[in-house]
């Protein structure tokens, strides 16, 4: 069979396997192995794929991942999350939709210590959702806020998915992490605007908070010092060039570990947290292995080069192609898991994007934003599943309904990212 045709068949087989519920890692590896057996022979297929679990784990730049994940779980046990929420509530509770606003602020704070969006959503589903309900908030709005607030973790550094993007496309991880800050803050502001507008239109959704004295507000501040310590070390360390991303993650982990020890984290919690961290780390690496095997197969077919030539030589303005790619990701994001989706499409999409002259750092930010929209859209939206998983009494439909107004905001944010690439690249360019 013609290798290009086999390449397309491989992609179709992969999508089929993923849709019927084979884990992304195994589906990608299986397609890649069988494809290589057909294109070369079984010695090559077995030999080449057998190298990958070793070779693609021992990777210096990827060593930030377990550290980022450890920071997230230690932050929770060090009480940083609770204090961040408490402080946010005291400061912005009087605003319209005050507790929802506070949740977004606290999510942004937690985002600065967590590399992962589902973790963030899980934390605030436990922490903020019950508080909002107790004050008479509409449960759909409250559920939507925690689901959407969680996505900030992927943009505001540290971000695991930006690191993976950087490794796959060989771009500076340091620049990507810095680039995520501005769009992360923009997203936060847009979410706040959406809450304000929704609550102004339907004040019944969110009753007003009682006032808090100024002294109480001041007293709440020192508690969030942990967040600032981590942000300071990671951003400052990278920006000032004192440390590589791995090193700043290591130092931040050590700081949070000391704080957790001061809060007398129990041995059981510590033990459970370590196991959780290992499990998540392994999950990410197995997806990386699977996709790398699939990439080898695609290289043998010659498909990526063919598609790139096709896209780059299309006789339309490049923004039309970009728009097509954005729509493609939004549609895929409805049904596919974000990490797998990103890694499976990059070998084909990335050369086309750079071929069209777009900035690779900027595209990474756009891509992560699109993926994060995917985790809150039906029918497969991981963050919404998390809310529903922890709170089965809130139906999945209600969570998705609560997210809806924010999706309009997301379109607006995507527009800003596309229209103002210089704004996105502001911090990484300052680094030079």
């Amino acid at each position: 069979m013609d290798p290009i045709t086999l390449g397309y068949l491989g992609i179709a087989a992969l999508i089929f396997l993923v849709l019927v519920g084979v884990p992304v890692a195994y589906a990608a590896a299986c397609t890649g192995i069988v494809g290589m057996m057909l294109l070369r022979n079984s010695t090559v297929a077995i030999g080449l794929s057998g190298i990958i679990p070793y070779a693609n784990s021992g990777h210096y730049a990827l060593s930030v991942l377990p550290l980022f994940i450890t920071i997230g779980f230690l932050a929770m046990h060090a009480g940083i999350t609770t204090s961040a929420y408490d402080a946010a509530r005291k400061w912005v509770g009087r605003a319209p939709g005050g507790l929802a606003t506070a949740t977004i602020f606290a999510s942004a704070g937690f985002a600065a210590v967590s590399g992962a969006s589902t973790a963030s959503t899980a934390v605030f589903t436990r922490l903020a959702l019950p508080e909002m309900e107790a004050r008479g908030y509409d449960s759909r709005l409250a559920a939507g806020v925690v689901a959407v607030g969680g996505t900030l973790a992927a943009l505001i550094p540290p971000s695991a998915i930006l690191v993976i993007y950087g490794i796959i496309v060989e771009q500076s991880v340091a620049k990507l992490l810095l680039a995520g800050l501005v769009p992360g803050v923009i997203s936060m502001i847009v979410y706040l605007l959406v809450i304000t507008i929704v609550v102004k239109m339907k004040p019944g959704l969110a009753p007003l908070e009682p006032g808090v004295s100024f002294m109480e507000k001041i007293k709440a501040l020192p508690q969030v010092s942990g967040v600032f310590a981590v942000v300071g070390v990671i951003l400052g360390g990278i920006y000032l060039g004192w440390m590589t991303p791995t090193e700043s993650a290591g130092v931040a982990t050590a700081i949070i570990l000391v704080m957790a020890l001061f809060k007398k984290i129990g041995l059981r919690d510590f033990h459970a947290g370590l196991l959780d961290t290992v499990r998540t780390t392994v999950m990410i690496f197995m997806v990386i292995w699977g996709v790398m095997i699939f990439v080898r197969f695609l290289a043998f077919t010659g498909l990526p080069g063919t598609v790139t030539d096709l896209v780059v030589n299309l006789d339309v303005p490049r923004w039309v192609i970009l728009l097509g790619i954005i729509v493609m990701y939004l549609l895929m994001g409805m049904i596919l898991d974000g990490l797998g989706m990103m890694m499976l499409t990059l070998p084909v999409v990335f050369p086309a994007i750079t071929g069209l002259g777009y900035d690779p750092i900027w595209f990474g930010i756009l891509l992560v934003k699109l993926i994060e929209v995917g985790v809150v859209t039906p029918p497969v939206g991981l963050n919404c599943y998390v809310v529903n998983g922890i709170r089965p009494d809130i139906p999945l439909e209600s969570v998705f309904r609560g997210v809806t107004p924010f999706l309009i905001g997301e379109v607006f944010i995507i527009g800003i990212i596309v229209a103002f690439p210089d704004l996105i690249l502001l911090l990484p360019n300052l680094m030079n």
Binding site: L48, A61, W242, P245
Partner: protein, 333 residues
Amino acid sequence: AIFAPGAAAAAEVEGPKVKWLVSLWGARRGFTEGVEGLKDYLAEKTDGNFELSLEYGGVLSDPKENIDGLQLGAFEAATVCPFYHPDKTPASMGLSQAFLPLPSFEAQYRVYAEYLKHPAVHEEWDKWSATPIMSALMPNYEVMGRGEAPTSLADWEGKRINASGGHAALMEALGAVPSTMPAPDLYNSLERGVIDGIAYPYTYAFVSYRFHELSGWVTDAWNLGTIQCTVAANTDAYNALPDQYKALLEEAVPAAYAHQIAAYEEIDAANEKEFEALGLERIAMTDDIKAALEAAVKPSWQSWIDDVTSKGFPGQELFDLIMSEAEKAQAGQ
């Protein structure tokens, strides 16, 4: 073909259609121009029948496992740098020792070719079912940095220099403090003064990471030595070639070197002009610096000799071969 006036009437070398996949990493750059030259030459002489399909970006294999891929027959050819995994080809590592007296590309490839012909080295590549075709040339290392220019030996004391392998030992000999960071992190570290300088292949590696923009000085033709990389074929694939293709491959190598050297010269000319405009201070080699470097490098050479000798290779003989060929190559110029 009747309707295509541009097509060649007949190939200069007749033969069957052969397509080789070549595993490379990174983007097309000076380092890969040798294979590019090889590819062009073969395509031209066979009217496209002997095709090298250059697979950049490490899509077929990471650089550290290219030699494994050759043994598996996963691809027909690849660039292999022993430096990434010294013990996979310990004898070939001899060519990647620091500060070897190989100041020019011509001297390099002549010595490399003679060395790779030695039966002991051949045996080593046989273990991997690989057949060396040519070397992928890499310019000599120099040190570039910012801050106070180290014009005398004493000035090097305490300078933090990014250097690896044998170059780290050289820097230590000058009293500098070597460290190793991943390439993408270096720009930032140099800018913020975490390191004072970087030992890298001159000129192109400095410019590709834009270190020159930050720097104030660079060593002037110190020729600290470089790493040797081999473009090798899978032996079965090589043996399966018809004789006229094997001959053509051999004939193509000088043309490929010429192509690569011309590419480097073009890059260097443009870069040197930029260095000039930036006013980089050139640090001349002084006698005491030279003595210090030579004193330091001899034990590192000796430790390589001892290491391969303990592995059953004729270490001293191999090293003497490098030195005698280097002398010949330089005398011949």
